[in-house]
Amino acid sequence: MTYLYYPGCSLKGTGRGYEESLLAVFDALQLPWAEVKDWNCCGATAYMAVDEVKAFTLAARNLAIAREQGGETAQVIAPCSACYLVLCKAQHVIHDAPEIGARITDALGAAQLTYGPRVQVRHPLDVLINDVGTERLAAAATAPLRGRRVACYYGCQMVRPYATFDDQYAPTSMDRVLRAMGAETVDWPLKTRCCGGTLTGTIEDVGLRLNYILLREAKKRGADAIATACPLCQFNLECYQDKISAVYGASRLPVLYFSQFMGMALGLSEARLGIQRNFVPLAAAV
Amino acid sequence: MSDGTFQPRIVAFFCNWCTYTAADLAGISRMSYAANVRVVRLMCSGRLDPQFVVAALRQGADGVLIGGCHPGDCHYQVGNHKALRRFTLLKRLLGQLGIEDERVRLEWIAASEGDKVQRVINEMVAQVRALGPLGLTAIPRPHGEAAAVPPCCAE
């Protein structure tokens, strides 16, 4: 079975390193994938603030296309937390609110698309833990991440409110994956505390404070880097570090996608994993 | 009620221990629901003779609801299993005779599930209302003076 990769807008832009590393990891683990053809934006959080039905229709179009491409039970991989949440949420709404569901399926029908209720939306961590398994991961780690102390940061929308593959407050899937790759992960209570999402771009002072709290606590718990599973989390935590330092005086901490760490453990080059795109060099981790 | 919408008639057969009690609980809890269902109390869903179902349909019911204890909870151990066997075969037979699936329904409703009584009744009334009257083909009667009515279909 081929996983249908739904990149979403960010993995083609600010989150390019996520796409590069994740697909490299999938290849290295021999997980077959194909990009969803002609996908569109999931709608993200902003869309729901304007028109809810259109937001879910946008998301549902992707699921309809995936169904066309991969059949009734196609498996869509949504690495971006926002995409993952929105696609899941659209499925829930279509199922739970039949009147909205009917409008959406009718609208898709107008463009000759059929909504696929059985298409599965999955996060790559779900695939890595449940389809691959930590034993296989550990076996594949040719350059294990020994000596690295990573704080796994899951962010909010990956586990809340729809994910069923991990705990909503204290998730462990990323920790298990990175531990299988040889890293040490630090236990910290802020794994799912929000990074502020788009607030960092809109109401900067609020966003900076939220990210400062996360960076400070990760460092306090002895982490030498943070691993994320969401392009917006990575962007907020990493690209604003200069500003955060300017306001709060904190020192710097590299923030990588979990897939970049995995790629390193699998022996892939930093360039292939997009690590050079980061503002805070990995070397900053001492 | 008299606004011209079709008001289906539904006969319900509820077992004394679970579903009838649940319907009482719905009452005690003042859970308002559609008034179209009239309950006939049986001691156990195992008492339900499929003839009761077709008799109700023939006599003007647009739907029949059967309520029993959840499997494993029968007050008489396994009466509801028997009800399920008969119901399964009856449903197939009724389907062959053009009677829509929604019209005859079996639900396991425990004594504590007053809310389920409410939900199931409202749901079923809406479904049967959407289907419209049952509309069984009328049974013909002989012209002329009424002679002996054969006992097999005396009504």
């Binding site: - | 003779d49 499929p50 003839q51 179902v53 077709v54 008799a55 349909l57 023939r58 499997p71 396994v78 299993h81 028997k82 399920l84 066997r85 008969r86 399964t88 075969l89 009856l90 197939r92 037979l93 009724l94 062959q96 005779l97 053009g98 009677i99 049952l134 509309g135 069984l136 083909t137 009328a138 049974i139 013909p140 009667r141 002989p142 012209h143 002329g144 003076e145 009424a146 002679a147 002996a148 009515v149 054969p150 006992p151 097999c152 279909c153 005396a154």
Partner: protein, 321 residues
């Protein structure tokens, strides 16, 4: 004193009931000796005009077999009703609708389409249908009209007595004739057959266990039935428990299960669902999945339980037909 006049007529039927009269064999001579047969189109050359010529009530008794589906059958039934003092619904079709009654599972148009369009050997590109009237050069030709549904006899005319069976067993026919001649008929409306189920006279009754433990029904072609053991105990759907006795179980003697031609017992409101209840009850299965498996080989419950009685059932016919 003149011999009582007797008539025989067939409506929608297979002719088996006529055979049953012939099966009286030597006894038929006794019948002929005792009564005056004034109408029997199947065996003797009588015409409708002969009946019309009779005075009302002239015939003492008329045995009518077959169900009623056409305008001709209806007219004849009504005519015979006028001419006969007693009408005996003879055989399953007249009694409860019989095999022809299963056509009530389909609409009239469905039946016609099956015969005139869909049948394998039919070529009918114009979609022709039988006409009730046709202007031929020789004059107008008429055909009886096919009714929407099949009716049992007492749904078109009042009936005094019923002789169940497909066809009625010789024993019952003889008994009925005797009762007519001796004037020992039971009250009108009676079924001239024993008031008990077939199990009571089944040759295998002693082999039936108190608890059947089959988990799935089987069909006769799927097993080689033990010729001595109760067929239900072998998982075959035998309607003996819910069917009126009187036939001495020839089918079971022939190692085939009872299919219910004897019709319903007193106290039965609806033969099919009554038989269904008994049959489904004894199946050893408790959860939905195993019940579905157990009932898989009853693929046509309407056909199985209403084989001879759909027009007599509370449901009468498929909805909308």
């Amino acid at each position: 004193m003149s011999k009582p006049k007797v008539g025989f007529y067939w409506c929608a039927s297979c002719g088996g009931c006529e055979e049953a009269i012939v099966d009286l064999a030597a006894d038929i001579l006794g019948v002929v000796a005792a009564v005056d047969i004034v109408f029997w189109p199947c065996a003797m050359d009588f015409k409708r005009a002969d009946v019309e010529a009779m005075a009302d009530g002239e015939m003492a008794v008329c045995f009518v077999n077959g169900a009623v589906r056409t305008s001709e059958q209806l007219e004849m039934a009504e005519l015979l009703r006028r001419k006969a003092g007693l009408i005996v619904a003879f055989g399953s079709c007249a009694h409860t609708g019989g095999i022809p009654g299963l056509a009530n599972l389909y609409s009239r148009e469905g039946v016609l389409a099956a015969a005139y369009d869909a049948a394998f050997a039919t070529v009918n590109p114009e979609g022709m249908r039988p006409q009730t009237e046709y202007a031929a050069p020789e004059g107008t030709v008429t055909l009886p009209e096919l009714h929407e549904t099949v009716k049992k006899l007492d749904q078109v005319i009042p009936v005094e007595y019923y002789l169940p069976g497909c066809p009625p067993p010789v024993k019952l026919i003889t008994g009925a004739l005797g009762a007519i001649l001796e004037g020992t008929l039971p009250p009108k409306g009676s079924i001239l057959a024993p008031e008990i189920a077939l199990c009571s006279e089944c040759p295998r009754k002693d082999s039936k266990p108190e608890k059947l433990d089959f988990t799935a029904f089987k069909r006769p072609h799927q097993i080689i039935a033990d010729p001595a053991l109760c067929l239900l105990a072998q998982g075959l759907l035998c309607l003996g428990p819910s069917t009126r006795a009187g036939c001495d179980a020839p089918c079971i003697t022939g190692n085939m299960p009872c299919t219910g031609c004897g019709g319903p017992l007193e106290g039965t409101k609806d033969l099919g669902t009554n038989a269904l209840s008994a049959a489904a009850s004894v199946l050893e299965a408790t959860d939905e999945a195993s019940i579905a498996v157990g009932l898989a080989e009853v693929p046509d419950p309407a056909g199985a339980f209403y084989r001879y009685s759909l027009p007599a059932s509370l449901l009468y016919a498929k909805k909308g037909s």
